[in-house]
């Protein structure tokens, strides 16, 4: 039911603390989903039709490579946003995402939410602010990992 969903959306870190109307707006584009461990949630090259607010379980972001198996580039914890490429054309995923544990999430229809953001600029701005913060945090963390801090190179 939409009301239960709105409550779940409201409690998710991405939307927590925003005015009540936002949760309803988002819930109108959303539905509950679950994945079993090992199940592929997003596929590299696939259409970014929906993104996910992870509520339960961990998800690995991976790049598949022949002869090397899936290479995990990041592990997302419960409370994370899974999928960001739905924001921009060509609306395609660039990484695989796989459930590591049993995963419970809220799937949000990308096109539906994009239309609502275009129509309601105030909501659109709030959404962008929250998603940008996630992007910046992941970018910074990735840059620091590139330094290979624990490697045998010179420090500090």
């Amino acid at each position: 039911m939409i009301e239960d969903l709105a409550g779940l959306v409201e409690r998710h870190p991405l939307f927590r603390g925003l005015p009540g109307g936002v949760a309803e707006l988002v819930a109108g584009c959303a539905h509950n989903v679950a994945f079993s461990p090992g199940e592929l949630i997003l596929a590299e090259g696939g259409a970014a039709d929906a993104f996910y607010l992870v509520r339960r379980g961990r998800v690995t972001l991976e790049v598949h490579a022949a002869g090397r198996g899936p290479l995990v580039v990041e592990t997302l914890d419960p409370g994370a946003v899974l999928g960001l490429s739905w924001l921009f054309p060509p609306y395609r995923w660039n990484l695989d995402a796989r459930a590591l544990d049993p995963v419970g999430a809220i799937a949000v229809d990308s096109s539906c939410l994009r239309h609502k953001a275009e129509a309601d600029a105030a909501f659109g701005y709030q959404l962008m602010k929250r998603l940008s913060a996630v992007l910046v945090e992941r970018l910074e963390a990735t840059r620091y990992r590139l330094l290979d801090l624990y490697g045998h190179d010179r420090s500090p």
């Binding site: 190179d153 010179r154 420090s155 500090p156």
Partner: protein
């Protein structure tokens, strides 16, 4: 003769200085003092007053040092030379321990200091201040440098107050000279950080009335004016030394030498010389808020600017009387002898800050910044005082003539609300002229 006490003064002639040196030597001291060698005045063995640099005078400028023999009678008519007595007490190279493998163990033998007690005759007040700063570094912490402690304890120190500061001197800015005492005061025992250290000196000499030069003028020699070492000869007569007692063993040493009580004229002559020397400093360093000035200007563009000139040769650290950095390293040989050695090193060495595969301070800018900031700023937090005595050696012996007072002034001048320093010599090599108002002193 009534026995002398700490704080008393007496007057001795040049013969008395000779007696003093001979007596110290006879008592087992290795006497070291200023001697002329390789066109410089450096610490060397002294067996009599004849070994001292009589008649020699020095000319300092950034990157330039010349000695001149004017042939006059002044024994201490010069400022400082490149070496300091730091090297006699804190050896430039030494063995810490040697070891030998013996089966599955190692036999370690600590090195012992075999040098006799040293008597220094003719240290400058700035050099004495330098030794006191080294005392805080090497004796003031939880670990004491045993060799330095022993040598310093046993060292007999005769300070020669300074009447001829050079163009690079700025001891007045650092409160370390040119006299060893303000007029009329008695020596005090320092207690930095609770460590009981020696009294400041055993004896202090001030050379008076060194007599007219044999040739009134040698090529390039300046005129000797009224207030100088030579000028007051007309008033006071014989070439002599005012001697102040700084310790009981100093009292004992002076008591056994031919001396007369110091007269009022002797004290006045000394005070006048010191006053004239104070006014004749070649440079000034504004130390007001200096520690925090440098601390907040770590990114000042001046550091990059000085780095364009600095060769990071480390001359400044070699001649500095307070630099104390050492490298500690192990050596071995094909037959398995082990030795740990210590030698003077410099923060300008690229390897000084080596960590995990490379130096922390790779650029000349960061190394110059480290040296200047340590000497003038962080030394305060580490050891409770400035690390600079204002002797000017780093300026004179820098091959490209970098002047620490000028670098600091440049940083200070580019801060908001900067105020220009009152009297700073503008031309390289120009000796700051003393104020003429004291020309009338008797």
């Amino acid at each position: 003769m009534t026995s002398l006490r700490v704080g008393d003064s007496a007057t001795i002639g040049v013969a008395g200085l000779d007696e003093l040196i001979a007596a110290l030597s006879a008592d087992g001291y290795e006497v070291v003092g200023p001697v002329v060698r390789d066109a410089a005045i450096v610490p060397g063995a002294v067996s009599s007053a004849a070994d001292l640099p009589t008649g020699w005078h020095d000319e300092h400028a950034p990157g330039s040092y010349r000695l001149r023999d004017d042939g006059d009678e002044a024994i201490f008519g010069w400022a400082v030379g490149p070496g300091s007595y730091k090297g006699e007490l804190f050896p430039a190279r030494e063995s810490i321990w040697t070891g030998r493998r013996n089966g599955s163990t190692i036999e370690i033998t600590e090195a012992v200091d075999t040098r006799a007690a040293i008597a220094i005759v003719g240290a400058r007040p700035c050099e004495l201040a330098g030794l006191e700063m080294l005392d805080r570094v090497l004796l003031g912490g939880a670990a004491v440098d045993g060799v330095y402690a022993g040598r310093r304890e046993r060292a007999f120190v005769v300070v020669a107050e300074c009447a001829a500061p050079s163009a690079t001197c700025f001891c007045t800015s650092m409160g370390t000279g040119p006299g060893v005492l303000p007029a009329g005061t008695t020596p005090v025992t320092l207690r930095p950080g609770g460590v009981d250290v020696l009294p400041r000196f055993d004896l202090a000499l001030t050379e008076l009335a060194a007599g007219a030069p044999r040739s009134r003028r040698t090529a390039g020699a300046p005129e000797w004016d009224e207030g100088s070492l030579h000028g007051d000869a007309r008033r006071a007569g014989a070439h002599r030394f005012l001697v102040t007692v700084g310790s009981e063993r100093g009292a004992s040493a002076l008591g056994a030498v031919d001396h007369v009580p110091a007269s009022t004229e002797d004290h006045d002559a000394r005070d006048a010389l010191i006053a004239r020397a104070s006014a004749g400093m070649g440079r000034l360093l504004d130390t007001d808020g200096l520690a925090s000035l440098l601390a907040r200007n770590a990114e000042h563009p001046r550091w990059e600017e000085v780095a364009q000139r600095c060769l990071s040769c480390g001359n400044c650290t070699t001649v500095c009387p307070t630099c104390f950095c050492t490298d500690v390293g192990d050596v071995t040989d094909l037959v398995g002898t082990l030795e740990r050695r210590r030698r003077w090193s410099s923060c300008f060495d690229l390897d000084h800050s080596f960590l995990h595969g490379g130096p922390v301070r790779a650029s000349a800018a960061s190394r110059y910044r480290q040296w200047a900031t340590h000497k003038l700023s962080t030394w305060h937090e580490q050891f409770g005082s400035s690390g600079c005595v204002g002797c000017g050696r780093c300026i004179t012996w820098c091959p490209v003539g970098i002047d620490i007072t000028e670098e600091v002034a440049a940083i200070r001048a580019s801060e908001p609300g900067a105020r220009p320093l009152a009297t700073v010599p503008s031309a390289i090599g120009e000796r700051a002229q003393p104020a003429r108002s004291d020309g009338g002193s008797p």
